[in-house]
Amino acid sequence: MNRSTWNTNLITALSVLILLGIWQIGAVLLDAGVILPTPGTTFSALASVVQQEPFSLNILATVARALQSFLIIFLVGGLLGILSGYSRSLHAFLVPLLVICKATPVMSVILLAFIWFTSGTVPLFSAFLMGFPVMFIQVEQGVKLISPRLHEMTVAYGFTPLRRLIHLVIPSLAPSIITGAKASLSMVWKVVIAAEVLTVPRYGVGSRMQMAQVNLETAEVLAWTLIAILLTAAGDLIFLSLLEVPRKLRERRSKLLEAIR
């Protein structure tokens, strides 16, 4: 860990401390534990929540839902985005679907969702409605930013569509795909948990939040929220380290090429 990483970590820690301070002051000023318990109360609720029995099952259920939704959004949004970036017709065809995804509140179609899916998959459905347009718009726009000069080069050198996809389109789209993934990941957690709150599947962070909420155990609600925040932060870290993989692969590849003399 070099000097500047140290510094940024310090700043992040400082920022967390400041937020905790604001929370503490706010809680003291508000003086209403049902609405905003102090960080102290919340952390002791956290300690007892962690010891509740199916703790890891709740976490796993939520993580599985978030991951599944993310993968679906990533694949479907990415693929349709690339295709529709290249084909004006497909774009025109998808416009109404996209508008429906953007505008239809889950509430309007939730009963249909119940009929078509089991109740555990409704969070997936909500997350898809929310995240799909973001990923799609992102990748579609990314296609438009691909350098026309490099594209022309691949045409002149007779690249097959697959070779163009691998060596021009995907590397060019990488920033868009990454931002799209980051942005949809940023919603998936919240939407999945919110949908769990509404549909109360057997296991799930949101289900536990809902139960704590009806019993006015605000400290427990916030404890679960902290867990959700930690999960999200962990997810971000894993995502960031996954981003390093292609670079490492490319480096290894270049070493391998070097070896072939």
Binding site: I110, V200, Q213, V214, L216
Partner: protein, 307 residues
């Protein structure tokens, strides 16, 4: 005269009252007949909220003086140190097990069925679990409780459409379901079963809580408000059709749906003193079943307001 008016205005008391978008809203519509004016000095401002959350937040924050809440939520607030006391019972139990599966007639048919309940942890859920246990089922293994449709209106839709075959619903949705579909039949009256089990009458489902600050600042106003509320409940029960129009006007629901439900909503008015025993029993049962639902303790006597 101008000076007189100013004086009048300064004496004017505005009572800020919250009800939920259901039977507790029905019971107060009578108070809005005179634009909420109870006498020359007192105006009540009734706000209808879709969920208890908003009421709780505003009550804790001092933005509300009086609110109608589920009994256990009131006890819970009291236990959590929110300065409120209960003043009256305004609604008694009105829950039903409904089914559209003609094959279910006996209580024993409930075994291994999926029962849909609107909202985990709410009164329908608590009562359903208490009674299921009382009937000798284990709510974990013998039946499947499903909370995935949280809004009672939506659960009603599913029941009417035949996509859900067994549900616990409160009024006015029970009436809506029964009136909209011939296939839907009442399976079990929760209230009757409660009476049979406890040997008492109906259980108190909705109470009115008053903030301590309001009682201190306007000690004389409370009896007036409660009197007017009692009046309103009687009027609504006696004039469902007129009340229905007001219900639609206030924006709770359509008159056509509310009117047939009013007689079955068990709207009552009992002061805290009158209702003490029923409430105490109810809260003790809830406590015994799941103590967190009443805030970890059965409230002491100072929870019940005298006026």
């Amino acid at each position: 005269r101008a000076a007189q008016e100013i004086q009048l205005a300064s004496q004017q008391v505005e009572v800020r009252m919250a009800v939920m978008q259901g039977p507790s809203g029905f019971s107060t519509v009578g108070m809005t007949r005179n634009e909420g004016r109870l006498d020359d000095y007192t105006v009540v401002d009734i706000q209808v909220f879709p969920s208890p959350n908003e009421v709780i937040a505003r009550l804790a924050n001092g933005e509300l003086d009086i609110a109608a809440l589920p009994t256990n939520v009131a006890a819970n607030l009291y236990a959590k140190g929110v300065a409120v006391k209960t003043a009256a019972i305004v609604g008694e139990g009105m829950l039903m097990f409904l089914t559209n599966d003609a094959g279910i007639t006996e209580l024993t048919d409930l075994a291994q069925r999926k029962i849909s309940i609107p909202g985990a942890g709410g009164t329908p859920d608590q009562m359903a679990r208490i009674l299921i246990a009382a009937l000798g089922y284990d709510s974990e293994t013998d039946v499947e409780l499903d909370y995935s449709i949280a809004a009672p209106a939506q659960l009603t839709q599913m029941l009417i459409a035949g996509k859900v075959d067994l549900a616990v619903l409160p009024e006015p949705f029970v009436s809506m379901a029964l009136n909209s579909s011939d296939a839907v039949i009442p399976l079990l009256d929760v209230q009757a079963l409660w009476s049979a089990l406890t040997g008492t009458g109906n259980y108190p489902m909705t109470v009115v809580v008053v903030s301590d600050r309001f009682v201190e600042q306007h000690p004389g106003t409370l009896p007036l408000v409660m009197g007017s509320l009692k009046d309103s409940v009687q009027w609504v029960n006696a004039n469902p059709a007129d009340a229905g129009n007001l219900i639609e006007e206030v924006g709770i629901m359509k008159a056509a749906l509310a009117v047939p439900a009013i007689p079955r909503c068990n709207l009552v008015f009992k002061t805290a003193k009158e209702g003490y025993e029923a409430m105490d029993l109810y809260l003790k049962v809830l406590y015994g079943f799941d103590y967190t639902s009443v805030g970890g303790a059965v409230p002491d006597e100072s929870f019940y307001l005298e006026y």
